[in-house]
Symmetry: C2
Subunit: 338 residues, 2 copies
DNA sequence: TCTGGCACTCACCCGAGCAGAGTGCCAGGA
DNA sequence: TCCTGGCACTCTGCTCGGGTGAGTGCCAGA
């Protein structure tokens, strides 16, 4: 077990390294932090910390830098989440309240996160599967062609073309629309299938084919999880990675282009509380020199999607976690209001 | 006026520099291209070309590289557009045909463009202002709250909340929906305003306020040009910029994050034919070391939006122009079909 | 007008030498 | 037992100088 002072040394190393981006030596440490001991003592502590794998030397006769394991300990034990100040919170709220629709909410959230954390922001659109249906609309585009529009409680709109096996009358259409909505409006997506199962039986034989087609298109849309979209921003912050950024930036940019990778990344976040994945803890290789700070957000008490930031492992964890948490909270509020 | 041979020398310089990314000297030129003259002659030609500002030396005793002006001449006079091969065209078509909705079409287009050109792709969503209305839908969310959904011929869906001054009956709603659609369906956005002007008069006094509110929301949506969205992709190709990419990449990334900048950039493209803006021809400072190749695309004969790529001035212009043109053509087809 | 030759100019590539920061270890002291 | 000051050592980063080579400009001759 590490003594209290050694933990303090680790904390100081992390803080200094995050600030200066340079390996930190024993002398500099004692000068900047009042640890109450001499550099020599700190050196011994450092040797111990290195032995345990929390810090490392880029080369002999250089200062130490934290390892992924060191950051992990720092995040788990040595640092809390730094709350936003009141003015910051107000600014967040004001900025988000100006949004006019869902796209705008997401876009503003991305901008905001990127600006606050000076890192790459990733925001997932509120997920369909956990949302509830606000309304289903059916439009006739041609005698045997319908457009199905699904509106969710989070304001998201999904549309699908439906080619009917037979022409479909206006009356039947209005009937179907009404029946459908009375059954599914306000329901969670996952609850919908059993509720509409017997719907075709209520229609004339000639219309049943069309009704079934519409229903199956609707159900498809509901379960289509891979359709989950997301928005990213602040990529220019990647240039802040450090002096070796040219080497690191390409794999990161490539990873950020893969929606699948990002969705998996966010998916790994716990539903509650801020999740931090450091360096090699990220499954994707290109992100091995980055940390991901993510959190779920939702319109009710429940998380409907995730958001987060991607930055260098050498990041201000308390501040980033605070910003991410605060933004998630306010986005949730905005979604609940609309 | 430059002699024919000098133009050939310029062309050779551009081609070699694009290939090797290194200043090209007189000897190497004569070796790789059969110009039929000696290096000494080429040197004289080079001196003349430099005099005119088409090429430049990074430093004395180095080879020459094309200037923006040199690329301009190359694009305008010395190189055509390289058409896609038949297999490439088939691949494009196949890839785009798999799209399920508008978002998917745009997303696929971006991926495709980025892959074909190995550069950053930018695709503007089909613009509202030039599109036509396919359908307007009104949904009642609360006694005095409606949702207005606008569906365009390109498959785009816009939604707006409408807070009514007074509760609005189901009958009136159906009536308004029907009247509205019979007047505007199939019309171009710009033609809509005069067509609905007198609509409130057809309603009872108590409903007129609501009808007016709905109409003004609709018209707002139609003219809201700044709402134009776009999608970008292939940013990891920025790492291909050359050895000095660390310096250039930040302003470019920053520019790419500014939707406004990009929209203006695409907006400058001619409606017909491929437009190329080289280096300092781009108004935005961050893009002074990039070239933008853009083109309009549309579902009918008319352009409804633009797409293009952003890459280093040192790019394969004929190939890029060919790819951009081909993709635009096929996207147009896909949009026309759906 | 083109060509071969020639002198010249720089960027680039080592290798050596120096300074500085940082370390590990050890003996002495609280 | 733990901390401290001192000391020798290591290794990177920087600078300086010379050598190399690609490329140029100019000139006289075909």
């Amino acid at each position: 077990m590490l003594s209290e002072r050694r933990l303090q040394v680790l904390r100081a190393i992390v803080q200094d390294y995050v600030g200066t981006e340079e390996p930190v030596g024993s002398k500099a440490l004692t000068e900047r932090h009042s640890l109450g001991v001499s550099p020599a003592t700190v050196r011994n502590d450092m040797a111990a910390l290195e032995e345990e794998g929390f810090i490392a030397q880029p080369h002999t006769s250089a200062g130490r830098i934290p390892t992924d394991k060191g950051y992990r300990l720092f995040v788990d034990k040595l640092a809390g989440v730094k709350p936003m100040t009141a003015p910051e919170r107000r600014a967040i709220q004001n900025f988000l309240e100006g949004a006019v629709d869902l796209d705008d909410v997401v876009a503003r959230t991305v901008r905001l996160l990127a600006q606050l954390t000076r890192q790459v922001a990733v925001v997932q659109y509120p997920s369909l599967t956990r949302s509830t249906v606000r309304h289903v609309e059916l439009l006739k585009l041609a005698p045997a062609r319908l457009m199905l529009v699904l509106i969710t409680d989070t304001g998201r709109v999904e549309q699908r073309m439906v080619d009917c096996p037979a022409p479909f009358g206006e009356m039947s259409l209005a009937d179907l629309r009404a029946r459908l909505n009375s059954r599914v409006a306000g329901r969670r997506f996952t609850d919908v299938p059993p509720l509409v199962e017997d719907l075709p039986e209520a229609f004339e034989a000639e219309d049943r084919g069309t009704v079934s087609t519409v229903l199956s298109t609707l159900l498809e849309t509901l379960v289509e999880e891979n359709e989950e979209r997301l928005m990213i921003g602040g990529t220019s912050n990647l240039t802040r990675f450090g002096h070796d950024f040219p080497l690191v930036i390409r794999p990161v940019l490539e990873a950020l282009e893969e929606q699948v990778v990002l969705l998996k990344l966010l998916g790994e976040a716990k539903d509650a509380g801020v999740t931090v994945r450091i360096g090699h803890e990220n499954a994707h290789e290109g992100l091995n020199s980055t940390s991901v700070v993510s959190v779920g957000y939702g319109s009710g008490g429940e998380a409907v999607a995730k958001l987060g930031v991607v930055g260098p492992t050498r990041m201000d964890y308390p501040g980033t976690m605070g910003a991410v948490r605060a933004v998630a909270r306010y986005v949730g509020q905005i979604l609940a209001e609309s």
